[in-house]
């Protein structure tokens, strides 16, 4: 499987990455090579293997349901680009 120009632009858009026009072909090639490697791995029969969800062979540690965080809004909002009335402000999302 290989990726074309449109695939690269779509992936870049989904990840909100700017890709210069001149680079698109190169990315298409490089990503296609990665997929070729995946294709080769697909040739191995893995039907008896449990899919790996995590490289560490462990299970999730759980924490008790206790509130420990205190309000640090002021500290957090000091580093935000824009705030008002306790809200974080972002460019208008809908018209």
């Amino acid at each position: 499987m290989s990726l074309n120009r449109e695939d690269v632009l779509k992936i870049a858009h989904l990840a909100r990455l700017g890709v210069a026009d001149a680079e698109v072909e190169r990315y298409a090639d490089e990503l296609s090579n990665i997929l070729a490697l995946v294709d080769r791995m697909n040739a191995v029969d893995t039907s008896a293997v449990v899919p790996m969800a995590h490289p560490l062979d462990g299970t999730q540690r759980l924490r008790p349901d206790v509130v420990k965080e205190i309000d640090q809004r002021e500290a957090f909002q000091k580093i935000a680009p824009a705030v008002s009335d306790g809200l974080y402000l972002v460019p208008k999302v809908i018209e």
Binding site: T59, Q60, D65, Q72, R73, F76, L87, Y88, K92
Partner: protein, 479 residues
């Protein structure tokens, strides 16, 4: 042409934990903006999520209640999309391996028949924050207090064939999460939310039609209306030769219609992958069995017991087992009053439900407690009160005038059952209205009601209506 609607629901229930699913920030509703949004909830660099144990327990509870298989190993995945109320750029959810596998519930539909509705799966995920669009002229305000609140998303099979069935299913799930005490069920505050997938097909077809997804359904009534509207709309489109577009539509309660969310139609491409910050979640058999042993009596079991033990009909039993609070109220009332369960059921589903509804109160907030209602029903059962007088006593108790016995005493509301006293009133009514007596004897049976009215009026509503009726019939018929 006969069309068959097909409906499936995605229900989101906020789990009522104290802290968030992956952070120790509070989940309390209504705090000042962003005062309950910690570094994890804000998605600041370097933070790591740690799963809340109570969330896992609650999901297992739910799974057991819908007879589902609990996955011994489930995996959290990242669902990637960009929206400002989701600062990380992805929502932690479950994709391929949800914690709750296939289950089912039974709904009661019109005419008392039952239907099985499949639960495809239920998975855990974090809620997003809130966007405030209408306060700032050229900015959107973001409140991340809700970000990271635990949700269980419950996905049904496309098993429902009408809006009414969809509502019955939704009520059943609502009732289950409330019984389990894992969600407060408050739809106004968004603790229980519904998206509906609706399609129609020709009756007899086995293939599903193209579906639309309905959003913005924040009450049972809106869900029902939106589905009804959407079914009609799709039938109209198909009958006029058109095709239903697969899209998301918003319900507008003011216009009672659904509208396409144009412009937001970018195909979903969430690029799920296992979250490397979280290890697989293990649920041991011991934990499942421990939780199974602690489950409360659930709505279906309670309904069945209400039929078997109290002899209620299916309708009353369903109504009264809808919520744990209501069921407890009923059982306590029966116990205190010593009256028949049917009489208690009638008063609770009738007079009491009406008064609560009018005052917009929940059963737990009722000014008439089971102790008060039971005390009054005791006097109805022993014939101190007639139905009519009981209503007066009920109203007085509702306005906080105390216990039934005290009200009966203070207002002189004791029913007259003394045969001699009633006979005197009946005789007077007959003697005073010769014209109506003649009409009755000429075959105009309806006039009996006039006499009953006269006697009741003369007794100030206190004569026992049954006795009055009987005696009037006897006397008017005899002479």
């Amino acid at each position: 042409m006969d069309w068959e609607p097909v409906v499936g629901l995605e229900l989101h229930a906020q789990l009522s934990t104290k802290s968030k699913i992956f952070s120790s920030a509070s989940t309390a509703y209504g705090a000042a903006p962003n005062t309950q949004a910690c570094a994890v909830d804000l998605g600041l660099p370097g933070v790591l999520p740690v799963l809340n144990a109570e969330v896992v327990r609650m999901a297992v509870k739910f799974g057991l209640a819908v007879k589902a298989k609990i996955s011994p190993r489930s995996v959290f995945a990242r669902k990637n999309y960009f929206y400002p109320d989701l600062p990380k750029g992805y929502q932690i959810s479950q994709y391929e391996l949800p914690i709750v596998d296939k289950g089912e519930v039974t709904i009661q539909i019109d005419g008392g028949s039952e239907k099985r509705i499949g639960v495809t799966r239920a998975h855990l995920e974090e809620d997003a924050g809130k966007s405030i669009h209408d306060v700032f002229p050229d900015a959107t305000g973001i409140d991340l207090n809700r970000a990271g609140t635990p949700l269980i998303e419950i996905v049904s099979d496309p098993d429902m064939r009408s809006a009414a069935e969809a509502i019955a299913y939704m009520r059943k799930i609502h009732s289950i999460v409330r019984y389990l005490d894992i969600c407060d069920g408050n739809m106004q505050q968004g603790s229980f939310r519904c998206d509906a997938n609706v399609s129609v097909r020709k009756k007899g077809d086995t293939r599903l039609g193209t579906r639309t997804e309905l959003k913005n359904l924040n009450s049972f009534r809106f869900v029902e209306r939106a589905i009804e509207y959407e079914i009609e709309r799709q039938i109209d489109v198909l009958e006029s030769g058109g095709e239903v577009a697969q899209e998301t539509r918003l319900y507008d309660p003011d216009g009672n219609e659904t509208r396409s969310m144009r412009g937001k139609e970018e195909a979903n491409d969430y690029r799920y992958f296992p979250d490397p910050d979280l290890l697989p979640v293990e649920v041991t058999d011991e934990l499942v069995e421990e939780i199974r042993a602690s489950l409360p009596e659930l709505p279906d079991a309670k309904r069945q017991r209400f039929c078997d033990h109290y002899g209620l009909n299916a309708y009353d039993a369903s109504n009264l087992s809808l919520s744990r609070e209501l069921a407890d109220y009923f059982e306590r009332t029966v116990e205190i009053s010593g009256a028949t369960p049917k009489l208690c059921a009638n008063w609770i589903s009738g007079e009491l439900a009406g008064a609560l509804n009018k005052a917009a109160l929940e059963i737990g907030q009722s000014p008439v407690t089971p102790e008060l209602l039971g005390g009054m029903l005791k006097r109805l059962a022993d014939e101190t009160l007639s139905g009519k007088l009981a209503k007066q006593v009920f109203d007085a108790m509702w306005s906080g005038e105390g216990e039934a016995d005290a009200i009966i005493e203070a207002k002189g509301l004791k029913q007259v059952t003394d045969a001699g006293e009633i006979e005197a009133l009946v005789d007077a009514a007959i003697a005073g209205n010769p014209e109506q007596v003649a009409q009755y004897r000429a075959g105009k049976q309806k006039v009996l009601g006039f006499f009953v009215g006269q006697v009741m009026k003369a007794s100030q509503g206190k004569a026992n209506p049954g006795q009055v009726n009987e005696l009037l019939k006897k006397k008017l018929g005899n002479e």
